[in-house]
Amino acid sequence: MKLKKNIATSEAGFIFNPATGDSFAANPLAADILARAKAGQDAAAIKADILERYDVAPGQLEKDWDDLLAQLREFNLLD
């Protein structure tokens, strides 16, 4: 997952794409993931941390991870 460099994110989950003017609201987990990705953390480390902290099965997380990537692609937020 590689977010476009110009994408602005906030801790509260507000995401802004200055190239298009689009803005988005991320729920807390999505906001956390995007912040870590922006900080350079790789996908495996982010997922391992989520599995450690949250009550979720690995298979479910993988499925939802793929879905998040699909949303980011759909919204044109990935490089």
């Binding site: 803005s23 729920n27 987990l29 479910q60 939802d64 699909a70 949303q71």
Partner: protein
């Protein structure tokens, strides 16, 4: 202790005019129905599951009686069987005092088996067969005549009987609304109804006891009922004056709405549907002002269906899967579809989760499990981040679903009634493959 998990999701923010109308925003979970936990119901009876509240059935019936009975001295409700003819539901209404309004030979037999006396059964419908009319005459049900062919068929059936069959004439009329329903009964304005009345009275073989009209379905204009009542009352007075026949009852039919929101409506039905009191006010005002002497006021009959049963029914279902459509929209597949929730073709049903979620919601397309493109329950609904295995409750599904449901691709599920003490009772068992195949036969050359 690990944190509760909700899938990561994004929602595009769109600027637009704020809507100050509509219900409170946010999704509230419904964890129990009539005090019985949804989880317990699903554990006992499986999912999907229809649940009916006996308390609400009685409450709705009593509210309707109160609305009309406090405004007009002689009121009788006739339960519209086609709306939901599960015997337990019918018997609740009959216990409350309802007659039966039936529209086929099968429904007539159901009403008789439910203990309704023949004279308290009103036989409507446009498609009565000779055998149906013979049966209705034998049990002294009131035949609501729909057309001239039926009138002549009944005259034929009536010949030689010791007792004259009791009949009412179905009348269609202009009540000031569109569309004007003219497929049921004889038209008033073009003189057809009067011609039929004259003929049936002149025959001497039938006893005219009532006049009936049914102006439509989900009618949102109480004044239309007032207009219909005025016209029926005038027709009854003309019968007394010119045919020397006293009409005992005026039947204003049904068509009263529930608070389900019609597809395409701008505002939710809870904000726009008039209370039943408004309909009662219009009808009672028209009849009391029609010029009848107090002792000659006809009985007012109402064939309420949806307004009595819709709110008492709920459908519990389970999320089978989530997916994302090609345009990025979220889609959720439930274990029930249009096969069970027929009314999703008409309504944007209110659907609740059954556990607490965060405030985050996602616009979602709701699909049923059928391998058919039409199997869509909601085109767009804001729901929390449901996961496979989560349950939902669809509200106000008591009318038409349990009579118009289809055995298609899946078997039909349990229906339970929660009694007034909070005890669930099975009132229709879940279907089995054996039940489904009972009537099938395989020719010998296809066996082996």
């Amino acid at each position: 202790m690990k944190l509760p998990y909700e899938r990561p999701t994004l929602r595009k923010l769109t600027a637009g005019a704020l809507n100050k109308f509509g219900p409170r925003a946010g999704v509230r979970p419904v964890t129990a129905l009539d005090g019985v936990a949804v989880g317990e119901l699903v554990a006992r009876f499986g999912s999907p599951l229809f649940v009916l509240s006996e308390r609400q059935l009685r409450r709705s019936y009593q509210a309707a009686v109160r609305a009309f009975g406090t405004r007009y001295p002689r009121v009788q409700l006739a339960w519209s069987y086609k709306t939901n003819y599960l015997n337990a539901v019918c018997r609740v209404f009959h216990q409350e005092g309802a007659w039966a309004e039936v529209v086929s030979g099968m429904e007539l037999e159901k009403a008789l088996l439910n203990g309704v006396p023949g004279p308290h059964i009103l036989f409507n419908g446009p498609g009565k067969r000779r055998a149906d009319l013979e049966r209705a005459c034998a049990v002294d049900a009131v035949v609501h005549l729909d057309n001239a062919d039926e009138l002549h068929l009944l005259l034929d059936v009536a010949a030689g009987r010791p007792r004259r069959p009791r009949v009412a004439l179905r009348v269609n009329l202009n009540a000031g609304i569109v569309p004007q329903w003219d497929r049921f009964g004889f038209n008033l304005e073009n003189g057809e109804a009067w011609q039929a009345l004259s003929r049936l009275v002149a025959s001497g073989q039938l006893e005219l006891v009532g006049l009936h009209c049914h102006i439509g379905t989900y009618i949102l204009q109480p004044a239309a009922y007032g207009a219909a009542a005025t016209k029926l009352a005038a027709l009854a007075q003309r019968c007394a004056r010119e045919l020397h026949t006293v009409v005992q009852y005026l039947d204003l039919g049904g068509g009263f709405p529930s608070t389900n929101t019609l597809k395409g409506a701008y505002l939710p039905a809870t904000d726009t549907v008039p209370p039943l009191d408004d309909y009662a006010e219009a009808v009672a005002g028209a009849l009391l002002g029609a010029g009848f002497k107090t002792d000659d006021l006809p009985l007012l009959v109402l064939e309420a269906g949806r307004a009595l049963v819709d709110e008492a029914g709920s459908l519990i279902g389970t999320v089978l899967a989530n997916k994302r459509l090609a345009d990025g929209r979220r889609a959720t597949i439930l274990d029930f579809g249009v096969n069970l929730l027929f009314t999703s073709f008409w309504y944007d049903h209110h659907i609740s989760p059954t556990r607490e979620f965060s405030a985050d919601t996602e616009p979602t397309v709701l699909y049923g499990p059928l391998c058919m493109n039409i199997d869509m329950l909601r085109e767009s609904i804001a729901l929390p981040l449901l996961a496979p295995g989560d349950t939902v409750v669809v509200h106000k599904v008591g009318a038409y679903n349990m009579s118009q449901w289809q055995q298609f691709i899946n078997l039909r599920p349990y229906v339970v009634l929660i009694d007034q003490a909070g005890q669930p009772h099975v009132i229709r068992a879940a279907e089995t493959l054996e039940y489904l195949q009972q009537l099938e036969q395989v020719p010998a050359h296809l066996l082996g």
